[in-house]
Symmetry: C2
Subunit: 364 residues, 2 copies
């Protein structure tokens, strides 16, 4: 091994809210959990059709990583689905109980993630061994040829950083008066798209070293249909509303316009074409499947929906908002956000899709 | 893999103080750090003489675990020593840089250990990959044939539980009026010795499954010379003094005698003979080396020594003391402990030894 491995600082960390409080990720990640349920059949199918059992070394252990695991509980459901799928595949090949592989699972997130909460809520009767792997998935995390299956769900939309241009007051892509790209100019949207591409390149470059030949990456990201405008994406509309609440507060003197100008949410909703382009550019993986799944609509009332979304977004963005604006504005911000959401038309015209991609490591 | 793997609850957790505060383990584990420096040469020698490079699988990765890692920084020094020793061995065999193995390190401790502090203080330019492995080392932590090197330092003296007899008021081994075995009756000392043996059996049983044939276990525990009485062990004297402080406080009505009677420190200082017996009973490892190293004396004044020991013991026992007696007695307890320590003769007649054992997994 030449020199030092990554120090984990190549990507800005934006940990989801830890612990078990009102605005914790643990209590406000039902939506991400639904996505994991929604792709379960795709994962079963992927492993059944595409995993070659000969990829496992003599130790008879399958190494699985969930990247961007946050604090649970969704990561445990995802891991359980993968373990079950592999066991089913082995059983269908006539392997008895003693011939089944063992599983070493790695739950990965930034080193500032609340691993204490994660470790204290591990499922008690799990049929896999589990470790926590701290560090940015935009760089190397594991030794070469170490992993058999990589899973990541609703994590790769987080950019490693806000694109520099959008915070540069001298750039034509400076994002004045907004905190997001979706209803901003083309140059701003392009800066975000480029950052997403760069981040995906880093992610795939690192995984190409770590994943054994024949190994699988199953990734799910929130996205949009090819050709669909950014302004139709449900979450994008929500982020725009959040931005307008911040601007209202700036006008009231609760925060400043400069503070709003210099804050941008480091998230990007990609299209299938964009995702496919990154895999092709990398060249080490074959794209075996690519699905675009619409969100199942919930049958709750608008106020209930608005509250759930408000909590959901707070669990994900509180760290960044607090860091930039101070914690004292948070309650008022999310009260105002909640009220605007209720009155908005996002529930009518906002669209939410998940993109699911299955990648297989090509032989070297 | 048959059924569920361990849930990590088979052993009572006694986490060292987390964080970076005055009584944190991070700030009060200089002594444990000195031990790691003291055994460095033994570790270099062990790896140089006893590690066969053919034990590594095709992935060219050496899997190393440090069991009972706590919150750092000592675990990082220990790991670095091991990595350097292996690299040196490979280089001495004429391997160039590209032929060197990669290292996947696992830092293990109970799931209630402060992994957040550990992960946030990882050395930035480390030349190994590192994961945290939550769970009790008295049970299975890893898949079969997965580890090449296991290291554990100053962890195995912690018992998985207080021996039941010493807390049973109807037993002849009931430890009334004391919190430790060293100056108690033979039956109490025997109950502690038996618990240590049982725990070592569990530790070795689990490691025998996890360590590849030819793999090494390097363990360091605080101990005593064969035949040396428990009352001569430096730490034992300290624990007796701590017990007498608690009894003083019971007499003053600050706590109760019943509370002291039902509290016992789950720590045991073993002898080389005892350690050797556990390895022989297990049968899966050959005992390649066994050394008894005396503690290097420090040249500080008695008050300085007393204060350092008081903080050191508080960092290790605060969790248990708080749980049993409540946090409000802690400052007074350790003030009184510090005063008694200064006046005691422990610095003259107390003896401190570390036992270092090198075990090699026999072929199956």
């Amino acid at each position: 091994m030449a020199g030092a491995v990554q120090s984990g600082n190549i990507s800005k960390a934006n940990p989801m809210n830890g612990g078990h409080g009102l605005y914790s990720y643990t209590k406000n990640s039902t939506y991400q959990g639904k996505v994991i349920v929604a792709v379960k059949d795709l994962i079963m199918e992927a492993i059944s059709e595409k995993l070659n059992s000969c990829i496992i070394s003599s130790s008879n252990t399958i190494c699985v990583a969930d990247m961007g695991c946050s604090v649970g509980p969704n990561t445990f459901i995802a891991v359980q689905n993968i373990v079950e799928a592999v066991q089913k595949k082995y059983q269908s090949q006539g392997q008895g109980h003693s011939g089944l592989p063992e599983f070493q699972v790695f739950l990965n997130d930034h080193s500032v993630n609340d691993f204490n909460t994660l470790f204290r809520s591990l499922p008690p009767n799990r049929n896999y061994y589990v470790a926590g792997m701290p560090g940015s998935f935009h760089g190397r995390l594991f030794p070469s040829n170490f992993l058999h299956i990589v899973h990541t769900s609703y994590a790769l939309q987080w950019l490693s950083q806000v694109p520099m241009e959008v915070e540069d007051t001298s750039s034509p892509a400076w994002n004045k008066g907004r905190i997001y790209y979706s209803s901003a100019g083309d140059q701003i949207a392009k800066a975000y798209a480029d950052q997403f591409s760069k981040d995906m390149d880093c992610f795939l470059h690192a995984r190409a070293k770590e994943v054994v030949c024949g190994g699988l990456i199953m990734l799910t990201v929130p996205g949009r249909l090819d050709g669909s405008p950014h302004t139709r994406v449900f979450s994008n509309v929500c982020y725009d509303i959040l931005g307008s609440c911040l601007m209202d507060m700036a006008k009231m003197g609760i925060t400043s316009e400069e503070k709003v100008d210099s804050f941008n949410i480091p998230v990007y909703f990609s299209s299938p074409q964009e995702l496919e382009a990154t895999v092709e550019r990398n060249g080490c993986f074959s794209l075996e499947k690519l699905h675009c799944l619409p969100l199942e609509k919930t049958q709750t009332s608008i106020p209930e929906k608005a509250r759930a979304i408000s909590y959901h977004i707070r669990a994900g963005l509180e760290f960044l908002l607090k860091e930039h604006f101070g914690h004292e504005i948070l309650d008022e911000l999310f009260d105002s956000f909640n009220r605007k959401l209720e009155k908005s038309e996002v529930f009518q015209y906002g669209r939410a899709y998940s993109l699911f991609a299955l990648l297989k490591r090509k032989p070297t």
